[in-house]
Symmetry: D2
Subunit: 348 residues, 4 copies
Amino acid sequence: MVVVMQERATEAQVEAVVAQLLEMGYAIHRSSGANRVVIGAVGGGHGDPALIGVREGVHEVLRISVPYKLASRTFKPENTVITIGDVRIGGDEVVVMAGPCSAENEAQVEASAIAVKRAGAKIFRGGAFKPRSSPYSFQGLGEDGLKMLRASADRHDLKLITEVMEIAQIEIVQQYADILQVGARNMQNYSLLRELGKVRKPVLLKRGLSATIEEWLMSAEYILAGGNREVMLCERGIRTFESYTRNTFDVSAIPVVQQLSHLPVIADPSHGTGRRDKVAAMARAAVAAGCDGLLIEVHCDPDHAQSDGAQSLFPNQFDQLMAELRIIAPAIGRSICVASVARRGWGR
Amino acid sequence: MVVVMQERATEAQVEAVVAQLLEMGYAIHRSSGANRVVIGAVGGGHGDPALIGVREGVHEVLRISVPYKLASRTFKPENTVITIGDVRIGGDEVVVMAGPCSAENEAQVEASAIAVKRAGAKIFRGGAFKPRSSPYSFQGLGEDGLKMLRASADRHDLKLITEVMEIAQIEIVQQYADILQVGARNMQNYSLLRELGKVRKPVLLKRGLSATIEEWLMSAEYILAGGNREVMLCERGIRTFESYTRNTFDVSAIPVVQQLSHLPVIADPSHGTGRRDKVAAMARAAVAAGCDGLLIEVHCDPDHAQSDGAQSLFPNQFDQLMAELRIIAPAIGRSICVASVARRGWGR
Amino acid sequence: MVVVMQERATEAQVEAVVAQLLEMGYAIHRSSGANRVVIGAVGGGHGDPALIGVREGVHEVLRISVPYKLASRTFKPENTVITIGDVRIGGDEVVVMAGPCSAENEAQVEASAIAVKRAGAKIFRGGAFKPRSSPYSFQGLGEDGLKMLRASADRHDLKLITEVMEIAQIEIVQQYADILQVGARNMQNYSLLRELGKVRKPVLLKRGLSATIEEWLMSAEYILAGGNREVMLCERGIRTFESYTRNTFDVSAIPVVQQLSHLPVIADPSHGTGRRDKVAAMARAAVAAGCDGLLIEVHCDPDHAQSDGAQSLFPNQFDQLMAELRIIAPAIGRSICVASVARRGWGR
Amino acid sequence: MVVVMQERATEAQVEAVVAQLLEMGYAIHRSSGANRVVIGAVGGGHGDPALIGVREGVHEVLRISVPYKLASRTFKPENTVITIGDVRIGGDEVVVMAGPCSAENEAQVEASAIAVKRAGAKIFRGGAFKPRSSPYSFQGLGEDGLKMLRASADRHDLKLITEVMEIAQIEIVQQYADILQVGARNMQNYSLLRELGKVRKPVLLKRGLSATIEEWLMSAEYILAGGNREVMLCERGIRTFESYTRNTFDVSAIPVVQQLSHLPVIADPSHGTGRRDKVAAMARAAVAAGCDGLLIEVHCDPDHAQSDGAQSLFPNQFDQLMAELRIIAPAIGRSICVASVARRGWGR
């Protein structure tokens, strides 16, 4: 760390800071300028920089290292590519994950799976355990929901991503899912993250509503440090003063995280906007900004969805969006999976 | 809900909205003004207002009921007073909870307990399970820490509050603690909240960094709906653009919550500011604004604390603060416990 | 407005609200549900809804009309297209405005103009009066700068946009510029806006750092109400808790404003990110999201720019970006001007 | 500044940074640790640190000096006390400024002046030029309003503070007012600030809705650098995600600014909350936190005010508040002016 003393700091104050840094185990380099003293603390010390920051005579303490290691490009310069069967996340293709917010019943799950497969999605999304802000809202079908989701995914050759909300659910969720999702509200549920570090399936970690990019990478670090190196990060909107959209979808986080970290970055424009009529524009923006994948809510009948209907696309809207994305992706040297109908030669 | 149509909405759009509201089970009242149609939907309907909000021709949907019930003053107009032995939270006295961030060892716990008791605190705080943003930081002593905290609390006739981070810890924490604390990062860990609804000890629920007041009350609702009616709310700072203080301590949330809810409101100026030199000013402000209690970090030796040292008060600073608070509290018809030394006639 | 009474509101409280609404000139419709009274106030009344909101017994006051009129799609459903010579802003083409932050000297202005023209920009940007957060920073060349900018624009058949900071500058700036720009910090400088309403040149109004979309449209309303109907809106990033980028570029504001208003929406990814290495990704995102134009800082030698060098593109980066944008625009049925070199058949 | 290189930065990248720093005129100190190179740049250089920040191989640039000088405690360690006749702002007494939002007519101005004088205010507030977010709202009485305000202030031995919105108003406003107020929306209207630097009357500078404390002090620097050393700062709430209150009143800014600057800090709980029923709690909190003065809206008949009625106190509420503040102020060694009735021996 670098400790910047106040311009009027006394020699005694400087010496007290130096003494504490030495006690913390740092090597010290003191630089006295015309106006102020600056103290560099390097080496194997450990201690809370904030403790120095509140000492008398200290103007500011500047940290010079990032607190995450395994998640950083310094640790691993090349992109992490997560492979699930024939799907590669973090490679040249922008991978699309789509499906309903919740599994509601077999017919709804199946109809939604058919729709997203047809349009070119490779991964099926759907929730069985739902975190709801009201205790009186629909909380998901639990294991029954997982079974429906898996069955439809298998039937249409899709991989499956679904959310895990608590430690006790990990065991069962990983029996059904290919990717375990951690929701925004659990981004700093450290107990859950630590357990997910022991799992041997990829984890998609959503950014918390008020999480800085650094905090988000620190949460990824929990999972990585536990031994699970297959983590992908998902931007889904942050909380700001603007209330027209449910959240403010931070598109710039995509290139920022890609610079700082080797982990794949997924964008969720459905939660990022909260409004169906803004999802397509933000999905296009995310691909143009360089995301490695999209997570989009698509429902066979959004008007009767039990959750998130207002932000779920109709199947034909999703078809249209995929067509637009296929034009955009080449602008940055990437591709989007073609629609099944085109690829396989049979139609709806 | 009230559905405001766009000024140029067509009759067909209006009728489609009406049809959907009827299908949701609402009774409808349609009002056609000079410029636009407004549709009131009342009665026992259920359905997501956002679904109406994204329909064509709809300008805006306005909700007219609050989503929490048990936490509201409508449900219970009189203040909830939580009684733990001879301590009453939510009554005339402003109850002070103080102690170190973490239990580190017996000597530190005991010295801190002595200090806070002497100054007039009634409840001892300290953590044994610590949520840390880095997986490489000190994570707490676990049950050993709980034992130390309980022993010192008992020795000095203090009640004990400590944090519970996950469902599996509830059983053991409630054996030692008088109040279970839910941290800001777990405010929307619904699985944890649901389990705490079954506990028969008071719960202190911290506000999440980006939680609106309504979301905070919804999280309280989870605990109340589970059957535990002894919930207190704790303001501890929200995340804003201003970075000089670690968070922005939202003092105005105190009177706002007291108007909306019957639950006691506690203020935590230590986390609210993150800087020792700002804690006293914010503690005074919180009492002046009418809070029912304070949660303050006090450490016998903050410079060597294993966590949160920079925001922990020295014992003599805490003494001084308590003296100031005793002047302020009567301005709003309340009191603060006198210091032990004054009350009992012997000092240290 | 709709006044929602508290569930326990007394009849006297309801009657007092009704009396005040009648005094304000509203027609009243009272609806008594099982739980609460809701009062609709319609017609030609005028008065501050907040006054009703603080009355005893009132739960909430919901406004049902937007406070801007001329800026809304209701007033003018079709897009406003602003025509300056052969340039049409708001039509099928995405118009690119580019150039240096400040005019520094003739050589720099000319070299920058050549670069942006070559790449396909239609409008030249550059500042002569600079709003700087420090009184000790470079404040611009004033009229000398305007002359340089105009001369280079004319030489290369470019239109010119430049900023006006105060009323006294309007006269001179409109002698040189084709479009007058209002900076983010002046978005609510109502005196300035009112004067710009009298000008007969187009105005580009930047969104304030903490302005809601509604406030932004209200500021546009000031100019429109003064008689100047040629206003374009420019998103340039909002202030949030995230500090990695200088601002958070709110890409979703583009489709939101296009839905609410008929005015063209321009995106400024240079100020939106504050970092050169993120400008291209955000420019692509803005076009993919549907913006009507881009405002981009390009400097012939960014490392020696007197202002905003860190967010200014090098000419070759701008060339590359324009090529990418030409791939993306067709995805939403739009085009970008081809580069001069391609169009005219001669290079540099 | 301190330049922290990336861990994998090449020697060529380090040398390029050093070369640019030298070109900017800095003296360089290079420190090579186990993991990374850190470059200290000191001395009389000048250049934009952001330019270094976007260079290849650079991890982060840390600024080690504050950009404001005259406003800082380093420049002037002792508190600035602004004296206007027998009123001293920044001394032991907490000075209360109160009155209506706008001057509406003589009777309203006079009745409001009587009320605030009686309760113990020393300075009368009221607006004649009003910045309104809607062009269709009441814009103030102009010079007629100034005359009314001055007459009532003189009649009751009160000083007068009123807002100036544009350069052209400075001349006339300073003929009537003792303190010129700059509104939050004009905090970064640098043209206006520069002109106010030439005025020889005190200026109260409100914090912008999204202004960091540093930006606020930079705006004060504009006025100070112009030669006007009598500047006071006014906290009036910042914009956050919480929408229950109109703004979030940042009470912690009071002690923070007092630490960084010698200028007096005034608190405006009326705009800080936007709701009459929360003003008293926040006024008490601000005094408890140590503010040097209060700016409060009091109207003789708030329900019929032409602006800000919902946040204006009734005279009897203001009396009650002043009595509470007189209890609180001594807790921090300060006083509040006694009510006229007590001091002068004649009552209502």
